[in-house]
C-alpha cells in the first residue's frame, strides 16, 4: 500500500538507521506514487510558509533523512560499471526527488548548512563520475539558492576547470560547414567560466586558499603566467593542507619553467618533493626540469626515486586528486550528511 503514512514511516525507518532495508523498500514505489507524495510534502511546506502558526503537517517527518534516502536509492539504481574509466553515473530520478526535498528543507525548517553541503556533495560526486553537465546544473541550482556561498562557487569552478581541461576535439571540427568549436576554444571558454567562479568565490571569502590555488592554475592555463604566479604566491600562506602547499609549489615551478627560469622551477619542484617524496607528479616535474637544465643524470635519479615508491604509496598523489577532485572529500561529506540525517 503506497500511502502517505507508509512513505513517511519508510523515511523514519531510514532515520532510525534501517538504511539498507529502507533503500530496498523504496525500490517498490512507482514514479507516480512518489510524485504524489512529493507534491503533498511540497504543498505542506508552501502552506506552512503562508501560515507559520498553522498546524505543521510535516512535523515528525525527518526531511534530512528523506534527502539521503532518495540519494542512496539513486546510487543503488546505478551501480558503478566495470571496465569503464569514467563511468558517468549521472544523477537520476531519485536524485531529483532528493533535490526537491532539499528545497523543502531549505525553506521550511532551520537546518544549518545541511542543504548547502548536500548540493556540494552531489556536485563533487558528479565531478568524480565525470558527469560534468550534471555537476554544473546542480551547482547552478545550489548557487541560485545560496548565491553568497563561496564553497559552492569553488565547487563549480573546479568542475568547469576539469571539464574544460579534458575537452577533446570533436569529429565535426574542420569539416566544411561545421560550426562546432575547436577543443582549444571549448577549453578557453570553460577556463574563463571557471575563472569567474573562482574570482567570485574569493571576493566572498578572500581566505579561501583552495580557490586561490585553483585560480592560479586556471590563469596559467589561460596563458596569464604573471597573474597566475601572484595568485599562487598569495595563496601559499593561507594554505593549511600539505597537499595544497605541494600543489602550489608544483604549479609555481611550472610557471618558472615555462619562463625559462629553470633554477627557480627546480627549487619549487624540490620543495614539492620534500613535502610528498612518494608523489610521482613532483618526481616527474623535477626530473624533467633537471633534464632541460642539462643535468640528465640528476633527472634520472629524481625519477628513479619517485618510481621506487610506486605501488607502495600510502597516500594518493595530490595532483591526481586535484584533477579529478578528491574522492576522500566526497566520502567525508557523505559521512557528515549521513550522521546528521540519522540523528
Amino acid at each position: 500500500v503506497f500511502t502517505r503514512d507508509v512513505y513517511y514511516e519508510l523515511i523514519r525507518s531510514y532515520a532510525r538507521g534501517e538504511r539498507p532495508q529502507a533503500v530496498a523498500a523504496l525500490g517498490a514505489w512507482s514514479e507516480r506514487d512518489l510524485a504524489r507524495q512529493l507534491a503533498s510534502v511540497e504543498d505542506a511546506a508552501r502552506a506552512l510558509e503562508r501560515c507559520p502558526s498553522c498546524p505543521n503537517s510535516l512535523a515528525g517527518l525527518p526531511l534530512k533523512a528523506a534527502v539521503m534516502l532518495h540519494w542512496d536509492r539513486d546510487r543503488a539504481e546505478q551501480p558503478p560499471p566495470e571496465g569503464v574509466e569514467q563511468p558517468r553515473r549521472c544523477p537520476g530520478p531519485h536524485a531529483t526527488i532528493a533535490s526537491r526535498f532539499a528545497h523543502v528543507l531549505a525553506r521550511s525548517v532551520p537546518q544549518g548548512d545541511f542543504v548547502r553541503r548536500f548540493f556540494r556533495m552531489v556536485v563533487t560526486s558528479c565531478q568524480w563520475d565525470a558527469c560534468f553537465d550534471a555537476a554544473e546544473r546542480w551547482a547552478g541550482e545550489a548557487i541560485a539558492l545560496y548565491p553568497l556561498d563561496a564553497e559552492l562557487l569553488l565547487a563549480r569552478g573546479s568542475v568547469r576547470e576539469e571539464s574544460a581541461t579534458l575537452a577533446r576535439e570533436s569529429p565535426g571540427v574542420g569539416v566544411p560547414g561545421s560550426v562546432e568549436p575547436s577543443a582549444e576554444a571549448v577549453r578557453r571558454e570553460g577556463w574563463k567560466h571557471a575563472r569567474r567562479d573562482l574570482e567570485e568565490a574569493l571576493r566572498l571569502d578572500p581566505g579561501l586558499g583552495l580557490a586561490r590555488l585553483r585560480l592560479g592554475r586556471v590563469l596559467w592555463r589561460l596563458g596569464e603566467p604573471e597573474p597566475a604566479r601572484k595568485q599562487l604566491e598569495q595563496a601559499l600562506p593561507s594554505l593549511r593542507a600539505t597537499d595544497h602547499v605541494y600543489l602550489a609549489h608544483l604549479f609555481l615551478g611550472r610557471i618558472h619553467q615555462d619562463a625559462g627560469r629553470l633554477d627557480e622551477a627546480i627549487g619549487e619542484y624540490r620543495l614539492a618533493v620534500a613535502l610528498h617524496p612518494s608523489a610521482l607528479s613532483a618526481a616527474v616535474a623535477l626530473s624533467s626540469a633537471l633534464g632541460l637544465a642539462g643535468d640528465a643524470d640528476a633527472g634520472r635519479s629524481a625519477l628513479r626515486q619517485g618510481l621506487e615508491s610506486a605501488g607502495q604509496r600510502r597516500a594518493r598523489d595530490p595532483h591526481w586528486d586535484y584533477q579529478v577532485v578528491k574522492a576522500v572529500e566526497l566520502e567525508s561529506l557523505l559521512d557528515e550528511l549521513y550522521r546528521e540525517a540519522l540523528e
Binding site: 571496465g83 574509466e85 610521482l280 633534464g291 632541460l292 633527472g299 618510481l307 610506486a310 591526481w320 584533477q323
Partner: protein
C-alpha cells in the same frame, strides 16, 4: 599485432655527418667547440601496407641543407634491441582490451631475438617499472600475465619514464600499448615531444580498436 611486427622489421639508418661550429672570434674569452659525429635517422619503408626489408644504404639518399651525407645502414639485424613495453593498465582496459593488447605484447616479445632485451612499464595514474630490460623474456611474460586494470591514464608520464630510464648504450625502442587518451599526467604532449626529440629512443604505439 600487425603494428608491433612492423616495428621489429624496421630499419635504422645512421647518417654520419661532421658539422664543426664556425671558427670563433679570437676576442671572445670563452670558446666551446662541439661536433656531431653521427645522427640517427629512422626510416620506415613500406610498399602499400607492407614493410620493405633487406634494403641497402645505396637505396637511400640523405641531404642536409641540400648537401648529400655519408650514410651507414644499421639494420635491426645488426644490433641487439632494447625494447621497453609501456602497458596501459587503467580501468578502461579491463576485459577484452587487456587480453587483446597483452596478446599483441606477447607477439612482439616472440618477434625479438635472444640477444634483444625487453622491459615492462605498467601505468594507470601511477607508473610502475615492473621488469628492468633483460634478455630473459620469460620475466617480462610473467609480469605481463599478472597485469590487471584499474585507475586513470597517465600516458605521458609513463612514456617519459620509459624514455628517460632506458637511455644507455643500446638504442631503445619504446612500444606503448594503450586504448585511450591521457587524463592524469603531470607532463603534457608538448613536454613529451621535447623529451622524445632529445632522446635517441624510438617510440611506437599499438592501439586497441574495437573494429579491428
Amino acid at each position: 599485432v600487425r603494428a608491433a611486427r612492423r616495428e621489429a622489421a624496421s630499419a635504422l639508418v645512421a647518417a654520419l655527418a661532421a658539422a664543426p661550429l664556425q671558427a670563433q672570434e679570437p676576442a671572445k674569452p670563452l670558446e666551446f667547440k662541439t661536433e656531431v659525429g653521427a645522427v640517427y635517422v629512422d626510416a620506415f619503408v613500406t610498399r602499400g601496407d607492407r614493410p620493405l626489408a633487406d634494403l641497402r644504404a645505396s637505396a637511400f639518399e640523405l641531404l642536409d641543407n641540400g648537401v648529400p651525407q655519408q650514410l651507414e645502414l644499421l639494420s635491426t639485424e645488426s644490433r641487439p634491441l632494447r625494447a621497453v613495453l609501456v602497458f596501459d593498465t587503467s580501468s578502461s582496459m579491463a576485459g577484452n582490451r587487456l587480453l587483446a593488447l597483452r596478446a599483441a605484447a606477447e607477439a612482439f616479445l616472440n618477434g625479438l631475438r635472444p640477444a634483444d632485451e625487453a622491459g615492462l612499464v605498467a601505468f594507470s595514474e601511477d607508473v610502475v617499472w615492473l621488469a628492468e630490460p633483460t634478455a630473459d623474456k620469460a620475466k617480462v611474460r610473467q609480469a605481463l600475465a599478472r597485469l590487471g586494470a584499474t585507475g586513470a591514464t597517465a600516458v605521458y608520464d609513463a612514456l617519459y619514464a620509459a624514455i628517460t630510464l632506458s637511455e644507455g648504450e643500446r638504442r631503445a625502442l619504446i612500444v606503448l600499448f594503450t586504448d585511450g587518451e591521457d587524463n592524469t599526467s603531470w607532463l603534457g604532449e608538448a613536454d613529451l615531444r621535447t623529451v622524445a626529440q632529445r632522446s635517441n629512443a624510438l617510440v611506437h604505439v599499438v592501439g586497441w580498436r574495437p573494429w579491428a
